[in-house]
Each structure stands twice: as structure tokens, then as C-alpha cells.
């Protein structure tokens, strides 16, 4: 055994690691608990399955990544150094089977000569790579996701503003926060550790007490301290995003907008690069002091302390006091670490040619300021020879740095000990991604010399620790290999997040329905009571059909009965965009392909709205209620878009004081009666509207009343049958629904869902914009050429209808397709083939296809090149390997003469 607990405190907590039972203490991290139990191998490395032990103290830890199961749920890739131990935790090493100690793939390390840098690029080559790629990938990697565990979407999102945000609550951060708060500013301090104090807590004899006093002063001055809160990213305009962990409550996500940011993020110790420096037992020196002072855990009995700087050298006395035998190898005085002996743990070390029995090597290659957030905010670095590290250069607006993060290390002396190219043995630079000094040399030989290329070619710094311990050694190695200075070699780009942040925290409650909320009908309860089966249509949750039978049977039943008696349909999501004012007619005309304003009040016109590119954006009807009052009834999925374009033209082209656009879609509920008995049903409602066809013909509207409120009755038909759309304020919808159902009983009325309506409209060849048209369809592709040929004045998209592309003679045109091979309905999306010249290519496709009860067989609509001049031609279709035959026909399959509209 090597590491052990020398000072007990806190209640015992039972846990397991790789199936064996251990005991930790209240307050332990997973890492301190494992060390206290003498566990040396905590995982296997990403690529070579090398045994690895705990290296660091906090978020810089590269090795100790564990899958943690607690309360029956598994959380993958938890960093052992930053996670508090809880009783009953089951810890599993990653990338090791069955255990980290006895990993079966450990022998992969012997194959390392065949797994060089850029291995994937050199191996996964066409044409055979897919044969072995999955097996190789399975041998690498980290934790395993538990497919049964879907974490709850319960992370609250917090938004805050403040004058000063201090990141880091070590001494520098607390002092900055105290001064800012005393000066009267609103101050928030965030720090990812369990309590304020930073390195005071393990570096200073009475650090805990002094930190508590200082933190008390900060709070007394009015600042708020958020511990266990990681500022993981700085985004545009200095938005700082933070991830807060809480006991007994879900994590929280903070978006903080400070006027000024103080980064007091401290510094991270670098490893020394020597042969086999990744063996379990080789650790960060700073971490050893941290485990000793904070958790009473002594990391070894016979310790070699290899250092190149004064700060780490001071550790020797503390470790000796705790009972360890310490041998110091001061690299500044010419000492060298030549070899580490032992596979799954340090057994001996050769220092300056002399073998010393040891169970632990504490290595310190100096400290690097934690400048990640500064660099994310586009801050530039400069290399400071005095501390052999990159420090913040030119200031960034609104951001200042304090303490070690600014390169202020106080009394500190260092002699750089960078990697030594050509040195013997396997010298690790990036522990987590298994990158050695030889890999860096190979990358340089293969001309990947820029640090950004080095990173991507070798994966140095690309692991979940983002190279916190490895980047400086990596770029120093590249500088040495290429003969450049470290400053000239530069660093890779720093990007958020600083540590891995769970997606659940960023997403918060925006999952499922809250991610993309559906819009609900005022009558949803009534539809459900009537057996409605709901589906989403253009963002609205609507009844697709009613009844408990097979969907196709119910849909055909509804469609059949709608043609025979009368159907009641909830059309409430249909757009009801009201346009008022003296310029109402002008803007409605400009917005649409067809002129609307020439209608008499009380009349309705169908038409298209085009994009400026001339493509059909939407179709729908517009009601002219009065010269200065129109209702644009666009399709339900396009309401927001139509409102937006009307509003844009209103402000840009018209006088905003002379026209208003008001979206009342959700204010009105619309119920439709359609079918031969529709008139009788509406008559029974006593709406106070003259239903005589002379007074209310097809494409006319009338104002009536229902239950003391307004009712609009419009004769518009999407089925081809006589139809009445009755709109009442949404609050009256249940009463209207009840009245129509009551009136319908004697008429053998049927409730109709969206699917049957889609079928009925296809029988008539009525389009759904965006389904039967695509991003190229123009009105003349549907045979509607009147406005293009005759209309004077401007409208949206006009010029585009006369371009070379618009006038091409091989445009895809809207047609019907009749099955000619005796088969079932054509698959929607099937391609119509053009086989001229012996080559097959797509000349169009099926846009809608149904089995029609009224026609007694399949019907289909489609877009086909030159289709309107190819009526009667038989064509081949192709879909997912199957060939079909169909005849091009007029798109209307039912009641071509339109007699049913007044029947």
C-alpha cells in the first residue's frame, strides 16, 4: 500500500470501486476516498489501456474519470477529483474490462509502436476501413452511457446582471470582490470549489479560518458568493455562463451579464516530462499537499519530489512532518528523473543515475496561469520568461485579471524544464489522450508543425480535460523540435466550455414539450371526449381522426360520410390576420399575387402569396369585410410568417399610421360544416344570417351572432362540397361545438379530423402549399397565369415571374397521377422518370397520394416536368427500388364540373 489516511475526520461512507467495497469519509471527493484506500489504478488510458492513477487535485485531472452509479442511475465520465463522495456510490473505471486493475486490453500497450500519432488517419483508409473501424473504436474511449437513464429536465435557468463578476474565490478574487462591493457595486463571486478560499485552504497553516473571515467580509460588503459554480464560458458582449451544483437540488445554469469581469482563476501546475511519467503514483506536487491538508491523506510513504521551481520545493517539509520519507530531486541543480520502475504503481525511481526505492513521485514543472476565460474573450497572451509561462497580454474591454491568473506568482523562482526531444523512453505529454513526446516529434516530421495542426493530428489537448496539464508541455516540445521559441510557437485557441458541462444543465427545462411547445385547440377536451386521436400539424396539436379503429378505416369512414351527409371540422388554426386602415386594401394587394381590393365588401377571394423570388409561399383566402378591413386567412402553419411579412411591408413601404396588422388567429375559433347537408346544419344554429344562396353564395361572408357574441360565417370550401366556416370568439367555441353536434344528430353528421380533410381536398386537386409545391413552384406552374399576364402595379415577387428561369419550358408543373399498373396508391415521394437518351433521371415526383373512397381507388398529385402538356401520357415511377406506372391527368379527380359546391 502507498497512500493512506493519516487523520480521520467525518462520518464513514461506504462505496464500491470496480466491484470492491471501500470506506470513505464525509467530505471526501471520489479521488481523496480512493487515495485514502490505497487504490492506485483508477482507470485505463484512452488509446493504449495503460494503467493510470490519480494525478491532480481538481478540474485539471486527466486520468481519474469514472462512471458513477447512485440511486440506480449512472452518470458517465465523472471527474473523481471534483465530485463529492456519497454513501452507496458504485464507481466504475472507464475503458477497462473487467476492472482497471485487471484490464484485458492492457496488452494493447505492447502494440504501441503500431499505434502512432495520426493512427486513425493512416489506418481508416478507403476502401476497407469500415471493416475494422468499429472494432478499433470499441477499444478506445471513456465512460459508458446507461441507455435506461434519461436524466430529468429539471435544471433551472438563472439570469443575473451585476456591476462586477469575480471568477475565483481565492485570496485575490475575494479581495477584488470585497473592494468592489465596498465601493458600492453589485458583485457576484463564482468559484467551482466547495467553499471559498482557493489555495489558502491548503497552502496556509490557518488558511481555512482566514478564508472564512475574508469571505464573511465579502458577503458583509453586499456581494453574493456562489460556490460549486463553474464559470465555463465567456461569450459575446461578455456574457458569462456558469454551471452551479447544489446538494439535494438539481444543478442550475447561470447566465450572468456583468459590466466588469475580474478573473482570479489562479494557476495550474504542469507535470514534468520524463520516461514513464504516467505511472500510477506519479502525481502533481500541489495535489499531494492538497490531499494532505484538506483530507488528511498522505499520498506515499517514500516520496520523490522532483521540481524545477521554488513553490513546489516547499512541500518537502509538510510531507516529512506527516511521516513520509522525502527525497528531493531539484532539476534546477542538475538532478534528472531517468526512469520510473513499476507497472501498476511506482516501485522505484532512478534519479541522476541512482535507483531509489519509492512509492510515489511528486512532479512539478512549474505553474501556468489559468487564462482560459480571458482567451475565450479574445484576449491575447505573451510569454513571460520570468515565470516560464504565458500570461495575459493586451487588456480586453471589461475584463481584468488578479493574482496568479495575471501571472503574479509572488516570491517564485523557476528554471524551465521543458520536454527534451530525442530523450529515451515513452515520455507522456497528454495523459488523457495518450500523446507522448515521440508523437509530437513524429507530427513535426510529417510537417504538422503549427500547434493547431499538432493538436488535431495527435489529439494533444483534445480530451475532456482540454489539455489543462498538457498544452504547455506540448507546445514547448514542438518549439524545441522545430527550433522556434515558445512565444513564436504560440498556443491553440481556447474555446468554451472550461470543463465538460452536462447538456441537461445547458438545456434546462427546454426538453420535450417545453423545447418545442405545441399549440392547443380551445376544444381539445371536447375532441378527446369524442375519441379524437391527435397529431401535430404545423405546430398545432389537432385531431387526425376520431374513433378507436384502424387509422385508415376511420379516415375513410369520415371522408365517405362527409361526402354523403355533413362533416364537422375544427379549423381554428386557420389564419385570421386582420388588416385595418385606409391602406389596408393596398397592402393586401401588394402582399398577394391576386388583386383582392376589387372585391365587393362581404366577398372572398382565393390566391397565392409569393416570395420576392416568385415562389409560392402560401395560399389562402382573403375576406373583404369593408374597404378598410380585411381578414387574411392563410394556412395554419404560415400564420407567423405571413404576419411578419405584412408587418415588414407595413413599416417599410406603407404608412404605419394608415394600416394595422393584427393577428387574431387564436382569438377566434372556427368550426366548419361541409357536405350536402351543411346548410341544414348551419340553419339550425340560428346565427341570424340569411343563408339563401343569393344572399350568401360561395366565396361570400356574412356577420351574424351566436350566444350574444359575434359570429362570422364564410362560404369557403376546401372539400369541394358546400361548406360554411363559422368563427366565434374562442370563449364561445364549446357552446358552438355543442350546438353543431346537437344540430348534426338529426342530419347524421360526422366528426372529421385533419386526415380526412387532406384526403377530400386531394380528390379535388386543392394544393397544400409546401407539400404539393416546393421551393421552385411558381403560380404558372399550377396553371394560374392571369395576374402575371394582366395585373398592373407592383406585388411581392412580380419581377421574378419573368426571369429566364421562370420562363423555362421544362418547369415542373402540378398534375394528377392515375395508377396504371393496377397497384395500390403510389408512394409519396416516388420519382417520375425521364428515360430519354437511355439515361434515367428524375423529372418530378409524387407530392400527395391517397386511397380515395369517392373515386373508388388510388389518387395522386405531383410535380412533373412539362406535365400540363403531357395529359394522358403514361410514365414510369421509381421509389426505393420499386418501379410503378401511372398516367398524367388533370389534378381534379372528383366533381370536375364543381356542381357540389352549391348542392
Amino acid at each position: 500500500m502507498s497512500a493512506r489516511r493519516i487523520r480521520d475526520s467525518g462520518a464513514p461512507l461506504a462505496f464500491t470501486f470496480d466491484g470492491r467495497a471501500y470506506e470513505g469519509r464525509e467530505g471526501d471527493t471520489l479521488a481523496s476516498a480512493l487515495l485514502a484506500n490505497g487504490v492506485r489504478v483508477v482507470g485505463r488510458s484512452f488509446k493504449y489501456h495503460r494503467p493510470r492513477g490519480i494525478h491532480g487535485a481538481w478540474s485539471e485531472e486527466p486520468n481519474a474519470i469514472l462512471d458513477v452509479t447512485i440511486h440506480g442511475k449512472t452518470w458517465p465520465n465523472v471527474r473523481a477529483t471534483t465530485q463529492r463522495l456519497e454513501a452507496g456510490m458504485d464507481l466504475r473505471s472507464v475503458n477497462a474490462r473487467p476492472t482497471a486493475e485487471g484490464d484485458r486490453l492492457g496488452l494493447l500497450d505492447r502494440l504501441s509502436p503500431f499505434l502512432p500519432a495520426g493512427f486513425y488517419y493512416k489506418t481508416f483508409l478507403w476502401p476497407d476501413w469500415h471493416r475494422f473501424e468499429p472494432r478499433i473504436r470499441a477499444m478506445a474511449g471513456l465512460g459508458r452511457l446507461d441507455p435506461a437513464h434519461e436524466p430529468p429536465a429539471d435544471s433551472p435557468a438563472m439570469n443575473a446582471r451585476c456591476d462586477v463578476l469575480v471568477v475565483g474565490s481565492g485570496r485575490s478574487g475575494l479581495l477584488a470582490a470585497r473592494d468592489a462591493a465596498r465601493a458600492g457595486g453589485s458583485v457576484i463571486v463564482v468559484d467551482d470549489r466547495f467553499e471559498p478560499g482557493g489555495t489558502m485552504l491548503h497552502r496556509e497553516a490557518d488558511g481555512a479560518e482566514r478564508a472564512a473571515v475574508l469571505a464573511g467580509d465579502v458577503e458583509q460588503a453586499g456581494a453574493r458568493i456562489l460556490s460549486r459554480t463553474t464559470a465555463y464560458g465567456i461569450y459575446d458582449h461578455n456574457l458569462v455562463c456558469c454551471w452551479e451544483r447544489r446538494d439535494g437540488a438539481p444543478d442550475r445554469h447561470w447566465r450572468i451579464r456583468p459590466k466588469r469581469i475580474v478573473l482570479a482563476t489562479g494557476a495550474i501546475e504542469r507535470p514534468l516530462v520524463f520516461a514513464d511519467n504516467d505511472r500510477p503514483g506519479v502525481m502533481s506536487a500541489e495535489a499531494a499537499l492538497y490531499y494532505l491538508r484538506r483530507y488528511g491523506v498522505l499520498v506515499g510513504e517514500r516520496i520523490v519530489l522532483a521540481v524545477n521551481n521554488s513553490r513546489a520545493l516547499g512541500l518537502a517539509d509538510a510531507l516529512r512532518e506527516a511521516g513520509a520519507a522525502v527525497t528531493v530531486a531539484d532539476l534546477r541543480e542538475g538532478a534528472s528523473v531517468d526512469a520510473v520502475h513499476g507497472g501498476k504503481g511506482v516501485e522505484a525511481v532512478t534519479i541522476s543515475g541512482k535507483r531509489i526505492e519509492a512509492d510515489c513521485v511528486l512532479a512539478s514543472g512549474g505553474y501556468t496561469p489559468t487564462v482560459h476565460l480571458f482567451c475565450q474573450a479574445k484576449g491575447k497572451l505573451r510569454y513571460d520568461e520570468a515565470i516560464a509561462a504565458f500570461v495575459p497580454g493586451a487588456p480586453v474591454d471589461g475584463i481584468s485579471l488578479a493574482g496568479a491568473a495575471a501571472g503574479d506568482f509572488g516570491d517564485y523562482a523557476i528554471a524551465p524544464a521543458w520536454p527534451n526531444p530525442g530523450a529515451k523512453g515513452r515520455q507522456w505529454i497528454d495523459f488523457q489522450n495518450d500523446v507522448t513526446l515521440k508523437d509530437v516529434e513524429l507530427a513535426a516530421r510529417e510537417n504538422f508543425r503549427s500547434v493547431e495542426h499538432l493538436k488535431r493530428y495527435t489529439t494533444l489537448g483534445m480530451a475532456t480535460d482540454q489539455g489543462k496539464t498538457s498544452n504547455m508541455n506540448g507546445l514547448a516540445a514542438m518549439a524545441a523540435v522545430t527550433g522556434r521559441t515558445i512565444e513564436h510557437t504560440g498556443t491553440t485557441t481556447y474555446r468554451p466550455p472550461f470543463v465538460p458541462v452536462p447538456f441537461t444543465v445547458v438545456a434546462g427545462r427546454r426538453r420535450g414539450q417545453l423545447f418545442n411547445p405545441v399549440r392547443r385547440l380551445a376544444l381539445e377536451t371536447q375532441h378527446r371526449a369524442a375519441g379524437g386521436v391527435f397529431r401535430e400539424y404545423g405546430g398545432w396539436l389537432r385531431p387526425a381522426f376520431y374513433g378507436g379503429g384502424e387509422a385508415d378505416d376511420e379516415i375513410r369512414r369520415e371522408a365517405r360520410q362527409a361526402r354523403e351527409t355533413v362533416a364537422i371540422f375544427d379549423g381554428s388554426p386557420l389564419g385570421k390576420i386582420e388588416v385595418f386602415g385606409p391602406q389596408a386594401g393596398a397592402i393586401v394587394d401588394y402582399n398577394s399575387y391576386n388583386t383582392i381590393s376589387t372585391l365587393k365588401p362581404g366577398r372572398i377571394r382565393y390566391g397565392f402569396m409569393l416570395t420576392e423570388g416568385g415562389v409560392i409561399y402560401d395560399d389562402g383566402v382573403t375576406v373583404k369585410l369593408a374597404d378598410d378591413h380585411y381578414v387574411v386567412s392563410c394556412s395554419s402553419g404560415h400564420v407567423a410568417g405571413v404576419v411578419a411579412r405584412l408587418e415588414e411591408w407595413r413599416q417599410d413601404r406603407f404608412d404605419p399610421a394608415a394600416v394595422f396588422v393584427h393577428n387574431l388567429t387564436a382569438h377566434w375559433a372556427t368550426l366548419t360544416a361541409t357536405g350536402p347537408r351543411a346548410k341544414a346544419l348551419v340553419a339550425a344554429l340560428s346565427l341570424g344570417v340569411d343563408l339563401d344562396d343569393a344572399a350568401l353564395p360561395h366565396m361570400a361572408a356574412a356577420q351574424g351572432s351566436f350566444e350574444g357574441g359575434a359570429a362570422r360565417v364564410a362560404r369557403v370550401s376546401f372539400t369541394g362540397d358546400r361548406s360554411y366556416e363559422i368563427s366565434v370568439p374562442a370563449s364561445k367555441a364549446p357552446a358552438l361545438w355543442a350546438a353543431m353536434n346537437e344540430a348534426g344528430r338529426a342530419l347524421d353528421a360526422v366528426l372529421m379530423g385533419s386526415e380526412a380533410l387532406l384526403l377530400l381536398r386531394a380528390e379535388k386537386g386543392f394544393i397544400i402549399a409546401g407539400k404539393d409545391t416546393d421551393g421552385t413552384s411558381m403560380p404558372h406552374d399550377l396553371g394560374i397565369t392571369g395576374p402575371r399576364d394582366k395585373r398592373q402595379g407592383e406585388y411581392v415577387g412580380k419581377r421574378s415571374l419573368f426571369t429566364e428561369n421562370a420562363l423555362r419550358d421544362n418547369r415542373q408543373q402540378f398534375v394528377g397521377l392515375v395508377v396504371a399498373d393496377g397497384g395500390p396508391a403510389l408512394p409519396t415521394g416516388a420519382h417520375v422518370l425521364d428515360e430519354t437518351g437511355g439515361k434515367r433521371r428524375s423529372a418530378g415526383y409524387v407530392t400527395s397520394s391517397y386511397e380515395s373512397p369517392a373515386v373508388g381507388g388510388p389518387i395522386a398529385l405531383g410535380l412533373v416536368e412539362q406535365g400540363m402538356s403531357r395529359m394522358g401520357e403514361e410514365v414510369s415511377l421509381f421509389h426505393l427500388g420499386k418501379a410503378r406506372r401511372a398516367v398524367i391527368a388533370q389534378p381534379c379527380f372528383f366533381d370536375r364540373e364543381g356542381s357540389r359546391i352549391d348542392a
Partner: protein
């Protein structure tokens, strides 16, 4: 996440805004007199400058179209102005 300033509502999160067009673009009319080139420039071409730019944005929350001056490199917003005509 940028902070944009609506001339009516003040500073708001960028997610409340929609880019509309570069400022100063005029729709060529009447259609019959507009060359194919001129129409294509109107439909498809933008200057997309590196640095200072003037753009029309929509503050979707209040529905107002306005002019914003900003820098496409530094993302600094230097001004936002109402596009409303002065009251007669």
C-alpha cells in the same frame, strides 16, 4: 450571446432579434423596367462588409424594424435608430 439595443425597448438578448437586410437596399421598380441583373442584385447580393456595417433588424418581441450600426468583426454595437418617419 450578443446584446442588441432596440430603439424602443433598450438592450435585449440577441435571440429576440431577426436580421432583415443591409441598410440602403431599395427595391427596384416597376418590374417591367428592371433588368435581370438589377433584380438579381436586389434578391441575392449583399456587401457583407468586414468591419462597420448598417443593417435593418427586427425586434421580434415588439415588432419594430429599426436600423442598427455594428461591427461584424468585434461585434460592437455602435448605435440603433428608429426608422419611423417624423410625425407630420
Amino acid at each position: 450571446m450578443q446584446l442588441f439595443s432596440c430603439p424602443f425597448c433598450g438592450e435585449r438578448d440577441e435571440t429576440e432579434f431577426t436580421f432583415c437586410a443591409e441598410a440602403g437596399k431599395t427595391r427596384p421598380e416597376p418590374a417591367a423596367e428592371v433588368s435581370a441583373d438589377a433584380w438579381a442584385r436586389y434578391l441575392h447580393f449583399d456587401h457583407n462588409p468586414k468591419g462597420a456595417t448598417r443593417e435593418v433588424w427586427l425586434h421580434a418581441t415588439c415588432g419594430e424594424f429599426f436600423l442598427m450600426e455594428r461591427d461584424t468583426v468585434s461585434h460592437a454595437v455602435s448605435g440603433s435608430h428608429s426608422l419611423r418617419r417624423p410625425e407630420a
